[in-house]
């Protein structure tokens, strides 16, 4: 299907039209915070190059999700498995960094045995990306092999061409969305097509991800960990806002005659994460937890899956109360191979 254009004034109406047949999610500003919400939602839909506070992963890995429930009455042994979703979904306005995340989560969560809830959400969600220039001061997606102006892994790409969005379907799923919107889309003008073609990323591409030593032994005793641990307050906000963090906890509870299991986000920055019932804890220092967080993303993950688990969104740096960002860590780790050469401080 040829690219079509939709004037910005008609976008909310178009989204609500789609919402009649599926669940539509879009960034909505409410109380100053931009979050993906299901429409209709209170607040204003915002399709622009601004990151939501919580990343797109929340739509695939909710903060808390039910796993199963079980009646505790005598003689009953059946378990009811929670359904992850009802209607098919479409997400509007996802940015390239967030979408790239899904391709980093896939090998973990779809690897045998797959997380069935995640798989269903992946299969039944269409992604309408918004082309972005990566202009935020925190952005370095271009250093992570991501082109935010042409986000891979999406079904439709929207490009802001002034008073309208250009809709370009990349997949079958995307074509169906355009078909649903047929009659609302108009043909793009030559000017609009030219604007879309010249859309380009300006995100920092000089964060040296590829230069991080591949052997953990080269980094294990780096002074950097002491420096980071002395600044870090262990709040875990970096892991909760990081689009590539997927670690989770499993909890059970009983209410009345029903027992329930649920899965929740967890964080390697919390000492409870690895503390065993008997009290032993292999990562009982902040230094060991900070090291785990960064080496998991930059070394362990890449040794398993071929690339680092970072998409350059910069959320960790923006929201860290003490200003620790993974871009800083990458730069410092890339500097030295020998532990003694990786010096803390003096940035």
């Amino acid at each position: 299907m040829n690219p079509g254009c939709l004037d910005k004034a008609g976008i909310e109406d178009a989204l609500m039209h789609l919402a009649a047949s599926r669940d539509v999610f879009a960034p909505v500003r409410e109380g100053g915070t931009l979050e993906f919400r299901r429409l209709p939602a209170g607040g204003l839909v915002f399709l622009g190059p601004e990151k939501t506070l919580l990343p797109l992963k929340t739509l695939y890995l909710p903060m808390t999700e039910d796993v199963f429930s079980r009646c505790m009455k005598a003689g009953e042994t059946g378990m009811e498995i929670a359904a992850p979703m009802e209607r098919d979904r479409v997400v509007f306005g996802a940015l390239g960094c967030d979408i790239a995340t899904l391709h980093l989560l896939d090998p973990v969560l779809l690897g045998e045995p797959p997380d069935e809830a995640y798989r269903e959400r992946r299969e039944r969600t269409a992604i309408v990306a918004l082309a972005c220039k990566g202009e935020g001061p925190e952005c370095f997606c271009s250093s992570c092999d991501i082109d935010p102006a042409c986000p891979g892994g999406s079904d439709v790409v929207l490009t802001d061409v002034g008073d309208a969005f250009l809709f370009d379907a990349l997949t079958e799923k995307g074509s169906r969305i355009l078909e649903t919107l047929d009659g609302r889309l108009r043909e793009a003008t030559d000017d609009e097509l030219a604007t879309a073609r010249s859309f380009d990323s300006t995100a920092a591409d000089n964060i040296p991800l590829a230069k991080i030593p591949e052997d953990f032994a080269d980094l294990w005793e780096a002074d950097l960990w002491d420096d980071l641990a002395s600044r870090c307050i262990g709040c875990g906000v970096c892991t909760l806002l990081c689009p590539t963090c997927y670690c989770f906890d499993v909890q059970d509870e009983q209410r009345g005659t029903e027992s329930k299991r649920f899965k929740t986000w967890d964080s390697c920055m919390f000492s409870e994460f690895t503390r065993m019932a008997g009290g032993d804890n292999p990562r009982d220092t902040k230094r060991s937890r900070v090291r785990q967080r960064f080496l998991h993303k930059l070394q362990y993950y890449s040794s398993e899956h071929g690339k680092a688990a970072c998409v350059g969104c910069g959320r960790c740096r923006v929201h860290c109360p003490v200003g620790i960002g993974i871009d800083e860590v990458i730069t410092r780790l890339a500097r030295g191979k020998v532990p003694g050469e990786v010096k803390g401080g003096g940035e």
Binding site: I81, G111, F273, T274, A277, G278, S288, Y300
Partner: protein, 276 residues
């Protein structure tokens, strides 16, 4: 066995519960669904996640051997879930997910002598392999079992010692840390007993499981005695939730104890960051 959802256990019934020490019970479970039982095929060294519905789930090594009928777990009373397991009675229900992890390299051990070194509850996974080896007696060489605990009351599976002593080419060396009323056996720490045996490394595999301090001394002594790192095998215990390498907490560097372990050769462990 893999159930329909990776965090949903199969329902199982407790057939029997008995004390194996002052703080450890042995539960024998049978799946409610026959297919679930048929699908639960395991080897010594693997573990399962046990669910106490409404309380939680915890990883427990399988202490029975696949060469026998029962599916057994030895559980020490240390946390919320294990405490709830201690309150189970025959006929009660619990959930079982698994089996998870790798297993002892039984194929590589065929034809070799085996020295088992265990301390306290560390005997639980080792017992699976001991009974497996005794049930396939002709496949393995001489078997020595060194087992110790702090007190005689903390020695697990005392009901099976006679059958181990009676098995052909099998010797059991029991010890407790200090003198105790009624105890007439060896007194002393496990590493000393292992040293006193003076078993030569040639053609022998050592399986070590127990408290970290015991493992530390035994490993050092074995190295001095000339044992190669690949012939020394141990099992690790870390906090594990999902059992399938996704929840993120049991990694040591890029290895996951729930997938790449819990059984490791010493040569593998030495290649990992020392964070366990």
């Amino acid at each position: 066995m893999m159930s329909k959802h990776l965090l949903v256990p199969e329902s199982a019934m407790v057939r029997g519960v008995r004390d194996v020490t002052e703080d450890t019970v042995l539960i024998d479970v049978v799946f409610d669904e026959k297919e679930a039982g048929d699908a639960f095929t395991y080897l010594p060294g693997q573990f399962a996640e046990l669910t106490m519905f409404g309380v939680g789930e915890c990883p427990i090594s399988i202490t029975s051997t696949p060469t026998r009928q029962a599916l057994e777990f030895a559980v020490r009373d240390v946390g919320n879930v294990s405490h709830a397991i201690h309150n189970l009675q025959a006929g009660d229900r619990l959930g079982v997910r698994g089996p998870f992890g790798n297993c002892f390299p039984v194929q590589d051990m065929v034809g070799k002598d085996i020295l088992f070194v265990a301390g306290g509850i560390g005997l639980a996974p080792v017992r699976s392999l001991i009974n497996y080896a005794l049930d396939n007696r002709s496949e393995f060489g001489r078997i020595d079992i060194v087992y110790g605990a702090r007190t005689p009351g903390l020695l697990c599976f005392s009901g099976e010692y006679d059958s181990w002593r009676r098995a052909p080419r099998c010797r059991l060396h029991l010890t407790v840390d200090s003198e105790a009323p009624g105890w007439t056996g060896t007194v002393g720490f496990v590493p000393r007993v292992v040293n006193d045996l003076g078993l030569e490394p040639g053609g022998r595999v050592v399986v070590v499981c127990g408290p970290p301090v015991m493992i530390k001394f035994v490993l050092a002594d074995l190295a001095r005695a000339g044992y190669a790192d690949q012939d020394v095998i141990t099992t690790l215990e870390l906090k594990m939730k999902c059992g399938v390498g996704k929840c993120g907490r049991c990694n040591i560097g890029s290895k996951y104890v729930c997938l790449d372990g819990p059984v490791f050769r010493l040569s593998d462990l030495k290649a990992l960051p020392q964070e366990f």
